[in-house]
Amino acid sequence: MTKTYYTEDHEWLRVEGDIATVGITDYAQEQLGDLVFVELPEAGRKVAKGDVAVVVESVKAASDVYAPLDGEIIDANATLSSDPALVNSAATGDGWLWKMKIANAGQLEGLMDEAGYKAHIG
């Protein structure tokens, strides 16, 4: 069973078992504008909640994307190296950023569901 969560920093997580796929929301990509570079993490890297996992760069600025949970990065979306704009065109689909193995599933409880996120962005 898959469940989707959202963070206050405009990330989404699709959780299946103990694996989370993470990306930024459509709202976030719209705020950032056209992306031209995504600095991807290496598989095997351990991250703590709040660590910078990915840096997305638009024409104008670089923005951090934070790990929403503790865990280990197991994959990054290599397609974004050649096509960073995929994050703009398919933020919640093919424009995912990384997959991670969740270390502490309890941290999911602090995240929002879709209705909560919609209320968050107003």
Binding site: D34, F37, E39, E57, S58, K60, A61, A62, S81, P84
Partner: protein, 366 residues
Amino acid sequence: MTGDHTNQLPLADLHTTAGARFGAFAGWNMPLTYPAGVMKEHLHTREHVGLFDISHMKLFLVTGSGAADLINRACPLDARALDIRQSKYTFLLTETAGIIDDLIITRLGDQRFMVVANAGNAATDEAHLRALAKDFDATIEPLDRVFIAIQGPEAPAVLAKAGIATDELFFMQGFEPRANWFMSRSGYTGEDGFEVGLPEADARELLGKLLGDERVMWIGLAARDSLRLEAGLCLHGNDITPENDPASAGLMWAIPKDLRADGAFIGRAALATILADGAKEKRVGLKPEGRQPVRSGAELFDADGKLIGRVTSGGFGPSAGFPVAMGYVSTQLAKAGTRVFADVRGTKVPVDVHSLPFTQHRYRKG
């Protein structure tokens, strides 16, 4: 700017209607992007026509029998040698030849000049000019105008359709086509184009016509920045500041040679010393290897890890198709093709010194 007050553009309602995303710049609430986005806006300007609201910039009319002498004192320029209608890129300099602001000055008449100043420096510039004006028979009049730029290869055709003839104007010329209007063939994108200062009511009427033309698109400040960066043009506050002199900034082309020896301008002695000793650093174009942009503030190192410069502007060049940047490096490393390294979040990104501009200028010269 003083205080926290953010100035609103006179045409802010038009930008809101056009769906602009706003942000603060130089004390002004400015449209940063429109729904098309920075990439499309940038490319549209190079292919068709970009329309920019630059009313944050300030127009000053300098008049009087001492107007030319005042300008000759404030700027490394020979205002008396300018033809009527001729525009020149120049600066206000400190006694140490630091760049207070960069300006475009146009001679409109024998004793009548238009000065276009940057938004963030307008108050400083005005105070500076007024203080100097005490020694000259010259009046400085800040103008209350809407200021728009119409930039891109189809700009002359678009203006012609809107009833404004441009045939008699070449690059870096300006005049007053009607009362309270100022129009020049210039801009900050590297493209052919025009800048028009005019009263708000006239502006609304003209914009109604321009926006009805499908070749015209509103362009925000984000694309204005990527366009000027590709064109190798300096942003005051980033690429040139009072800490930089025209020799280090690679802007000596803007200073007539004979003035370097006997000009009346403030900063001449200091600039002569810098030229005699040789500038220690130079402003250069920078092309990062790969696709990762390097940004303003990144430090530059040589192959041995020695700090040799800094990035002052950086981003992605939509027309160039690669990241573009500008900065200062030690003079001995300023040659195009020299490999240096930018520190980006702890990683050393290889960067090559690159000639400017990144995209060729397409001005309409006489």
